[in-house]
């Protein structure tokens, strides 16, 4: 515990309190008691052991068996067990004195040794008191725990023995099992007493410890006070000693002071704090001339100069108030009556509390000093006056100098900044900057120049630039130019950027862009050059040119590929379609005809695919042009739909077309492309519709464009499979279909909608789709077209015959009924409609009975239950209606029985959807001819003779099939044919015979068509003859057409050649020849065509339109553009010719030639070609006539083009 308390005290790092000291003393004494009692038991234990042995030996040394004795067991027990009992306590007392475990073992051993003694003493009652004594001894420890331990051992002994050997302890065998408690209780009684004693003892011990702690604390306090007093006494003694020493020193000091004061030459005085004089030395008396023994020490006040009294007192008051040293000069009147100056100095002496106790001062005679000062002051004043004057002069001079310096510094600063800026520019400029003086020596060379020329500035400064950086072959030129520049002449490189060749120090040449400025100053001029290395730029330019050439080559290759592909495909297609058509003109069985029609349909489909690809290619290339012509909308759409009706009806679909009555019928536009869009949309609708109907609706679109054109809205609705919403946008992308599976199921290129979309856009409209999967789709598109002339509208002369005429329409399809009713109503008729045969009979009978029979009946051939023929049969059986004229609407491809039709008296059979004109004709026929007439049943197209005269035609074609096709077609048109296998044969045939026309394939072996026609035209040159030559080519691109026309062809037919197209082309040429009668005559008379300017202009315009693919508007635009740009080219040619510059002349002629070729102005182009060739050959002396020819040709072309532009209707 003491250790713990001590530790706690140490941890607090402070002196222990009384309580802590008390606890420490208590623990210390308690521990000391433990040690002391341990030592007691350290003696008692072996003594008791010995006592037990002694008891045993004395009481029962031996045990006997008769006369035989042996050592008694008690002796062994006393020795062995006693030794065992005392052994561990003895060891612990020796090794762990004061420890609790030691005490506990002592307690146990003490009880056990008592038990041993009782045993060896034979259970004597007296020895039982040993136990009580043992408890008392253990109580010496003042540790109640030991008593409890000992008592516990006693209780355990009694308990065990009471159980095992009750007689040995209680004397009877029937003792109570709790009797051991009684015995233990007595022990406990003693324990209580002893514990009480222990606690009292501990309390007393604690009290003693507390008292001792208090005593120690008191003693420590007394000792501390004693130490303080001792130290105070020591300090007092030291102080007394110091004071005595100080007194001695003071006396010595005073003596020294008086000696010193008398020894000095100054007056010494001492006053108290108030200024009363206490002491003066002998000098004072001497000066004032008074007797020291009878002197008034305040005499000095009377002797003070009256002028000095007030300031002296003021100075004195200041010193006494502040404690500062007193320092003043004043005058005293001496004993001789004269005043003298004195310097008074005094220092205060302070008490320990900081108060002034006295003043000690001296008065030094400074009369001589004063006089000297006065003299010095006067000299100083004079000098000061001179200095002031001089200072004023210097200040004026300095001000002027400062102004000059400031100005100079400002100029220098500006100069430095300028130099720094210049240096910075030079250092950071990306371009090389070098300056040369009038001698051509380099005087400036910036870092960029070092980098570009691979030279260090230090190496080149001062050296001539021409020798370093000008390539050797240009140095002379540079020197001469430099000399001219120095002489004041204008140099080409001053003030402009030029590209020249430079060379680095190692001789490597490279291109630079150079700009030189001349810097003229007071001295010789400087030339500052800015150079930029353009090696990389040149390389990029070269690469760009190369890339451009490559792209142009690739483009040419692509176009050529397309042309070749078109040719290669169209060539056999020409044979397929042509031969099929020829075969269809022959007598065939119905099956053969059907097969051949399928062949033709397939070929047409294939051709359609090719056309799609070509169209798309042209659209993508931006070379697609729309043809404009007048067309009748209803007939055109009707014909178009009829071509699709076969497919629709083949699938059992109803195909109907409704054109709103307010839609004009005559339009100006590209009907072919419009038809293409309709075919695509309706074809798709049929393709993707398995049942139901496909309805085409055309209405006017709202709004009129600024140029008077009108909008048309087309709608194609079907009841097909529909399109998923997420695919609606994609279907207009090329090569896309709504579902990949549909491609496999329905076929198609996926280009149709893309092309349609483009075509519609080109026609000023847009296409959109609305669809619901499983319900159907509706495609809508608009186009903007120019309305056609009113005169083109269908004749309405017959309309009065229709007005208010009742007509019955019988059709199971409601849409068809509505369409037919609308059409009839638009014609003024009164249509009535029914959807079945029975209703129709009833309606007709009712009308007849009412006396207002129907004027005609339109009957659908395909109806459920009772079809058209059935209905007509019933009509014919009813007398009142048997005579009604009937027009039957049939499905395409439906078998028709001519005899049945004839017998039923059907006036006409129209394929649905019937063209309105056909319908009108049929109805009019019915109204005009109540009697049944023979229906027209077209079985086969009979050969049609040519509308014009019979021609003798030379055909140049290498392909045998195409030869046969063309021969059959032309012969079928009534022309005679001669066939040549290639261009050379054709030329020979032309020389050997006379022909009206030449049909010439462009691509042929030996000599192709282009070469042959050039030869033909060459042969005609100067003869005035011109044989029409028509190109036959599979190259379908407009560029091919232009190429053909440029080569000399008069017209152009794309393969596969259709009979209709061929016939139309021949007819147009024939008409043209007829129209050009005068020309023809002129030609025939050998008059040059050029002699007739009008004819020439016509040729030019024709060539231009041919070059524009018949697009008159485009031709006008091209003509305007040519008229704008050509004069500049002519001006350039004239300038280059006047200042002979062969290169420029050739370049200008080449440029004009190109655009002339483009517009088809071949004469002008040829003239340019001649001039270009001459210029390139350097034959500039003969260019005058050539230029004149160009100007003449230009005049003709200009007048022709201007005529074209001024004409209202395109020529």
């Amino acid at each position: 515990m003491s250790i713990a308390i001590t530790t706690a005290v140490l941890e607090r790092n402070a002196l222990p309190t009384v309580k802590e000291r008390s606890e420490a003393l208590y623990a210390e004494r308690l521990h000391a008691g433990y040690l002391r009692v341990d030592r007691i038991f350290g003696v008692l234990m072996p003594l008791q052991w010995l006592l037990a042995v002694a008891f045993a030996v004395w009481i029962s040394p031996y045990t006997w068996a008769g006369t035989t004795a042996s050592v008694h067991a008690h002796v062994w027990a006393a020795v062995g067990l006693g030794g065992l009992i005392v052994s561990v306590p003895m060891v612990l007392i020796h090794l762990r004195p004061g420890a609790l475990e030691t005490r506990q073992c002592v307690a146990v051993a003490q009880v056990m040794i008592g038990s041993l003694l009782i045993h060896v003493s034979g259970g004597r009652l007296e020895t039982h008191f040993h136990l009580f004594g043992s408890l008392a001894f253990l109580a010496l420890y003042r540790d109640p725990r030991l008593l409890l331990t000992a008592s516990a051992v006693i209780a355990a002994d009694h308990f065990v023995r009471g159980v095992v050997w009750p007689r040995s302890i209680y004397g009877i065998a029937t003792a109570s099992p709790f009797r051991w408690i009684e015995h233990t209780a007595w022990v406990g009684f003693e324990d209580v007493l002893l514990i009480v004693g222990c606690r009292q003892s501990l309390a007393e011990l604690r009290g003693l410890a507390a008292r001792q702690a208090e005593a120690e604390a008191a003693r420590a306090s007394v000792e501390e006070r004693t130490d303080e007093l001792r130290r105070a006494n020591g300090a007092l003694r030291d102080e007394v000693a110091e004071r005595r020493a100080a007194e001695r020193a003071l006396r010595q000091s005073e003596a020294q002071f008086r000696t010193l004061s008398e020894a000095i030459s100054q007056i010494l005085w001492v006053t108290d704090a108030g200024g009363s004089t206490e002491y003066v030395n002998g000098r004072w008396y001497e000066y004032f001339g008074v007797d020291p023994t009878d002197a008034n020490l305040e005499l000095w006040r009377d002797r003070l100069h009256s002028d000095d009294l007030a300031p002296t007192l003021e100075a004195w008051r200041f010193a006494t108030q502040t404690g500062e040293p007193y320092h003043f000069e004043y005058r005293f009147r001496g004993g001789d009556g004269a005043y003298r100056w004195f310097l008074a100095r005094a220092l205060p002496q302070f008490s320990d509390s900081g108060e002034i106790v006295r003043w000690i001062g001296t008065c030094t005679d400074i009369e001589a000093q004063k006089r000297a000062e006065e003299a010095l002051r006067r000299a100083h004043d004079e000098l000061e006056d001179r200095v002031r004057r001089r200072t004023v002069e210097l200040e004026q001079s300095n001000a002027a100098l400062l102004d000059q310096i400031a100005e100079r510094e400002r100029v220098e600063q500006a100069l430095r900044e300028s130099q720094a800026l210049t240096a910075s520019v030079l250092e950071t400029a990306p371009d090389a900057i070098l300056a040369v003086d009038h001698c051509g020596r380099i005087v400036e060379f910036n870092p960029a120049a070092e980098s570009i020329f691979a030279a260090r500035k230090g190496d080149v400064l001062g050296r001539k630039m021409v020798e370093l950086f000008i390539p050797p072959d240009r140095r002379e030129q540079h020197k001469s130019g430099f000399a001219r520049c120095l002489s004041g002449e204008e140099a080409v490189f001053i003030g402009r950027r030029i590209e020249v060749e430079a060379c680095r120090l190692d001789g490597r040449e490279f291109p630079v862009e150079l700009a030189v400025v001349r810097v003229s100053g007071d001295g010789p001029p400087l030339f500052v050059g800015h150079l930029r290395d353009i090696t990389e730029r040149k390389r990029v330019e070269a690469a760009l040119l190369e890339a451009r050439d490559a792209a142009e080559a690739a483009n040419r290759a692509k176009s050529e590929f397309l042309a070749n592909m078109s040719h290669e495909i169209r060539t056999p297609m020409n044979g397929i379609i042509g031969m099929t058509e020829l075969a269809l003109d022959t007598e065939l069985t119905s099956r053969q005809r059907e097969y051949l029609k399928l062949v033709r349909g397939s070929a047409e489909s294939l051709l359609s695919v090719i056309n799609d690809i070509l169209d798309f290619s042209k659209i993508e290339a931006g070379k697609f042009r729309l043809d404009s012509s007048v067309f009748g909308l209803r007939d055109a759409i009707g014909e178009t739909l009829q071509t699709l009706a076969l497919r629709a009806h083949g699938k059992g679909l109803e195909l109907a077309c409704r054109i709103a009555p307010d839609v004009p019928d005559v339009w100006m536009g590209d009907i072919g492309r419009l038809r293409q869009v309709v075919v695509n949309l309706v074809g798709n609708a049929i393709k993707f519709t398995d049942r139901g109907e496909v309805i085409v609706t055309i209405v006017r679109d709202e709004g009129v464009s600024s140029d008077g054109r009108l909008g048309l809205r087309f709608e194609v609705a079907d009841t097909g499979i529909g399109i998923a919403p997420e695919k609606l946008r994609a279907i207009f992308e090329p090569f896309e279909q709504a579902d990949r599976s549909t491609t496999r199921r329905f076929g198609g290129t996926g280009l149709g909608l893309a092309i349609s979309s483009k075509l519609v856009a080109m026609m000023g409209g847009r296409i959109e789709v609305e669809s619901r999967p499983g319900i159907g789709s509706t495609f809508r598109f608009t186009v903007v077209l120019e309305p056609g002339p009113e005169g083109e509208r269908p004749s309405t002369d017959d309309l009065p015959r229709l007005v208010d005429r009742p007509i019955l329409v019988v059709d199971d399809n409601a849409t068809n009924l509505l369409i037919l009713e609308e059409i009839l109503r638009s014609w003024g008729a009164r249509p009535s409609s029914v959807q079945g045969a029975a209703e129709a009979i009833d309606a007709m009978l009712a009308a007849a009975a009412a006396g207002q029979p129907f004027a005609a009946v339109l009957v659908d051939g395909m109806m459920p239950e009772i079809d058209g023929t059935g209905l007509i049969g019933r009509m014919r059986a009813e007398p009142s209606i048997a005579g009604l004229p009937v027009v039957m609407l049939t499905s395409a491809g439906a078998p028709e029985d001519p005899e049945l039709i004839s017998s039923l008296g059907i006036l006409a059979c129209l394929t649905k959807p019937a063209r309105q004109s056909d319908l009108f004709d049929a109805i009019m026929k019915a109204l005009g001819s109540p009697a049944p007439a023979d229906p027209s049943i077209p079985v086969a197209d009979s050969p049609r003779p040519s509308k014009g005269r019979s021609l003798r035609i030379l055909l140049a074609e290498d392909h045998p099939v195409n030869q046969k096709v063309a021969v059959r077609m032309l012969e079928g048109l009534g022309h005679s044919m001669v066939v040549a296998g290639d261009g050379a044969e054709a030329l020979r045939a032309l020389r050997a015979d006379r022909f009206d026309l030449v049909l010439m394939d462009v691509q042929m072996p030996v000599m192709d068509g282009l070469e042959a026609v050039r030869a033909i035209r060459a042969g005609e040159a100067g003869t005035g003859q011109h044989i029409p030559v028509i190109a036959l080519t599979a190259h379908a691109m407009p560029s091919d057409r232009l190429r053909c026309l440029e080569a000399g062809f008069d017209s152009y037919l794309a393969k596969p050649v259709r009979r209709a197209e061929l016939e139309a082309t021949l007819a147009s040429l024939d008409e043209s020849a007829t129209d050009r009668g005068p020309d023809t005559k002129a030609i025939a008379n050998g008059v040059q065509a050029e002699s007739n300017p009008a004819a020439h202009r016509s040729r030019i315009i024709g060539a231009l339109e041919a070059a524009c693919d018949g697009d008159a508007e485009f031709a006008r635009e091209l003509a305007a553009s040519f008229l704008d740009s050509a004069p500049a080219c002519l001006q350039g040619i004239q300038t280059a010719a006047n200042h002979p510059d062969a290169h420029r002349l050739a370049s200008e002629a080449h440029g004009l030639k190109g655009i002339c070729r483009t517009i088809g102005a071949t004469e002008l182009a040829d003239a340019c070609q001649n001039l270009e060739s001459a210029a390139r050959d350097g034959q500039l002396e003969d260019t005058g006539p050539m230029v004149a020819r160009i100007e003449d040709a230009w005049g003709t072309v200009r007048s022709a083009l201007e005529a074209l532009l001024t004409s209202e209707v395109p020529a």
């Binding site: 031996y62 006369t67 008690h74 027990a77 561990v88 056990m112 023995r161 050997w165 004397g171």
Partner: protein
Amino acid sequence: MPGITARCGVAPGWIVAWGVAVAAGAMLMNVYSMTPGSAGSPPVRWPGGSEIPLDRRCPTLLIFLHPQCPCSDASLDELAAAIDRTSGRVSAWALVYRPRTNDDDWFPGELREAMAAIPGLSIAEDHEGAEAALFGIETSGHVLLFGPEGDLWFSGGITDGRGHRGESLGRSALITRILDHRSSARPSIPEATGPTVPVDAPVFGCPLTTPGTEPGA
């Protein structure tokens, strides 16, 4: 205790072992002290041939003692207490074993004086244990009490352990027998109406004869 382990090498286990060993030693000592000697084969009737006369007026008490046996002191002390309790209403004989050796120190004077101090106690030396043999006694401290008719009333020791003084079952039974005879002339013992059954008590003392020799030989 860990401090002890560290400083002196005495582990707590050793202290426990020490305690156990001390307890075991004390147990062994008790076992030894409480182990009685041979009960012999005393006759139920006073045997003939004994040199000790049977008192016909009062019970006759015989105590056989080995003079060197340390337990004899305790037996005599208890005998003295019993005679004192019975106020001398018994004819008491102390038969002190004497072997053939003629050793004067065999029968210590202190013992003799102690016997003599017991009132009414007659001392007789039992040479070579003849009387003990006659009465079938083998252990020192064995007490026999015969009634006036020669019936054996009590047989056994009057201490409860070797050399153990104090209250004991044998002494109490002996005193009761004697006092019962004094008060009613018949012992108040169980089954008093029938033949008297001697009371037995364990005898704690040294063997009267050397093992392997015949008593009285």
